[in-house]
């Protein structure tokens, strides 16, 4: 399946801002994070199509997956 993956903050370093990527049908969000070489422990927020999702969620063709490190502010 094809997904748009968006990365934020230092996850962008040596990777990309947003790319369309091809993944196996059964891939979970955690699989994709692993495939990108990102340490799961550093992940703070994941969203599929602007809704928060769990790491075991299964994205669907055409979804937008956003991956953020642990962040805060205010």
């Amino acid at each position: 399946m094809k997904l748009t993956v968006k990365l934020f903050a230092y996850f962008r370093d040596n990777r990309f801002v947003a790319e369309v990527k091809q993944y196996p049908e059964q891939a979970t969000v955690a699989d994709i994070i692993g495939d990108l070489g990102i340490d799961e422990k550093e992940v703070g927020v994941t969203m599929l199509n602007s809704r928060h999702c769990r790491l075991d969620a299964h994205p669907q063709e055409g979804d937008i997956l956003a991956i953020f490190p642990v962040i805060g502010g205010g």
Partner: protein
């Protein structure tokens, strides 16, 4: 040195130093300013008249070496909201006031309108002097002139032209360690200071120090506390990207109020994001990590240079960038920085004023996206106090009333900041119920709604939000009394080591035995004290509601509205 209450009467031009009443002894920061305002200010008084009082209080731990403990609370009845108000700021003055032995500085009465004054605080008390040279001057000139006028390094608390003109969005500025500005931003406290005819306050501890009851325990607690802060991953991204790291995540979640609160996503979000800002700061030789007071180990502030590598602004925060960026649709970070600097110099709240600009754009005063237009209005209208400038300088509600706009994002007449309550539903409860008028810091449900800090509560559903906001507001009222920067809360929410060490610090400083429950009770008491003041000033639960449009205009992309009933909102107060 033992702590005292310093009192200044501007009607009589007299000063006094008083013992701390027993029931104020355990209070600092917001707990103390709100207690004093509630005890001494008639709730129905005019906020700009002689019966209002302006109270400054360092936190319980300010002036010590405790990490992040240098926040200064200012309190009064707010001219913007008509409610009780506490606004806090960094800068050096909280620490220096504490070292003067000043537990609170109370400014009461009102000087005659033909003169301006300055106050000088030292361990001996307060001296009042007439001020001529700096009247009408911007905050940057005030701090530069004063650093030459005084031989020793002093703290400076000042108002700009907006405060002198008693605009309802005027703030109070506090000099930081580099001679730049931080602000007690919200609620128009600068206008209260202006109404007293006080242009600035200098603070000189003359070598004074804060006494610590148990220095060894204090040192140990501080080491563990600072470690909890430094080790927290949120602190690390805050240092690197500043609070502006939020633009992209709030935008992605569909909660970034855009074009005067008509969309939850802004097309130009990446151009104004923390990531872009970080790269620009590095490219232009600015400073990525900077602290607003000595002892901050998180360092969310920064120094932002212009394209010619010259200093432009610092403490360039998410809320200001959101307000001018997404809410006014300005995509150029340099225009936003210019406006931010102008607002700091004028001494006017960058949230209130920018949201007011968004409402003015909807009214057709200037087009959406017109960054240079915003700067022109600040320079030529607000700074000069023209009729339009005063309408904008009195805030978003004022612009809405003047131009007949109905989409006016305010609660208790204070502008709603950077998280749309339709998609970050925990914030709907905080905005509606906090005694401060719409204030995100009062109960930052964003942490748990969006950032997965302190657990996670679905931002798009109303389940669990009242309880979340209640717990956060109680904890925040207590933290605001310690002098701690609120950003310690990210560590406190997730690291079980953090809060107990903070309580150890307070105990070691005063030689007392507070427990976690005592701290929670303090938070509850503060909220109830503040609410009782508001009720006596004429507020009731009908004021604890959001503007009508949030209930009937669905916000893209999630197309949700605020769906809390009045009873659900009111249940916030069941504690």
């Amino acid at each position: 040195m033992s702590d005292k209450i310093f009192r200044v009467n501007m009607t009589e031009l007299t000063v006094s130093v008083e013992e701390v009443p027993q029931n104020w002894a355990g209070l600092g920061g917001r707990g103390l300013t709100s207690t004093i305002v509630a005890a001494e200010v008639p709730p129905t008084c005019h906020p700009l008249g002689p019966n209002n009082k302006l109270v400054f209080a360092p936190g319980l731990l300010s002036g010590t070496v405790a990490a992040n403990s240098g926040r200064l609370s200012a309190g009064a009845k707010s001219p913007l909201t008509g409610t009780i108000k506490e606004a806090n700021a960094g800068g050096t003055s909280a620490q220096l006031l504490a070292r003067c032995g000043c537990k609170a500085l109370i400014i009461e009465g009102q000087a005659k309108a033909d003169s301006w004054y300055s106050l000088a605080v030292t361990p001996a008390g307060v001296a009042i002097s007439e001020e001529k040279e700096l009247i009408g001057k911007g905050n940057y000139e005030v701090v530069q002139t004063l650093s030459k006028r005084f031989e020793s390094k002093r703290g400076v608390i000042t108002i700009g032209p907006a405060g002198e003109m008693k605009m309802e969005a005027a703030n109070i500025s506090v000099m930081d360690p580099d001679g730049n500005l931080r602000s007690n931003g919200r609620g128009g406290l600068g206008a209260v200071m202006g109404s007293k005819r006080v242009k600035f306050i200098s603070v000189d501890p003359q070598g004074g120090k804060v006494t610590i009851a148990d220095p060894e325990a204090f040192k140990q607690a501080n080491r563990a506390f600072a470690k909890a802060l430094v080790d927290n991953p949120v602190s690390q991204t805050l240092g690197t990207y500043g609070t502006n790291v939020l633009v992209n995540v709030i935008n992605e979640a569909g909660g970034l109020p855009t074009r005067n609160f008509t969309s939850g996503q802004f097309e130009g979000h990446d151009k104004i994001s923390g990531e872009t800002m970080h790269d620009l700061i590095e490219e232009r030789g600015g400073v990525v990590k900077h602290n607003c007071h000595a002892g901050c180990v998180i360092q969310c502030s920064q120094i932002y240079n212009d394209a010619n590598k010259q200093y432009k602004t610092s403490g360039f925060e998410y809320e200001s960038i959101w307000a001018l960026g997404a809410d006014c649709c300005v995509e150029d970070l340099d225009d936003i920085a210019e406006a931010d600097r102008l607002m700091d110099d004028l001494g006017i709240d960058s949230i209130e004023t920018s949201v007011a600009m968004g409402v003015a754009m909807e009214a057709g005063v200037l087009p959406f996206g017109d960054g240079p237009g915003v700067c022109r209005i600040l320079r030529e209208e607000v700074a000069k106090g023209t009729a339009l400038g005063r309408i904008i300088g009195n805030g978003a509600g004022s612009v809405g009333r003047a131009f007949g706009v109905t989409r006016v994002p305010v609660v208790k007449n204070q502008a709603i900041p950077a998280y749309d309550p339709r998609t970050v539903k925990g914030m709907a409860i905080t905005y509606a119920t906090t005694p401060m008028g719409a204030d995100h810091t009062a109960g930052y449900a964003v942490a748990t709604n969006i950032l997965n800090v302190g657990g996670s509560v679905d931002p798009l559903s109303k389940d669990g939000q009242v309880e979340l906001s209640r717990n956060l507001q109680i904890a925040t009222a207590a933290i605001d009394s310690t002098g701690m920067c609120l950003f310690i809360a990210f560590a406190a929410l997730d690291d079980p080591n953090c809060l107990p060490r903070l309580i150890d610090l307070i105990n070691a400083r005063f030689g007392i035995n507070l427990t976690g429950d005592d701290v929670t009770n303090l938070g509850k008491t503060i909220l109830k004290t503040e609410r009782a003041f508001n009720q006596a000033a004429g507020f009731n639960n009908a004021d604890d509601r959001l503007p009508e449009f949030f209930y009937n205009e669905p916000l893209p992309p999630h197309n949700l509205v605020v769906d809390f009933t009045g009873e659900e909102i009111d249940s916030f107060w069941n504690f």
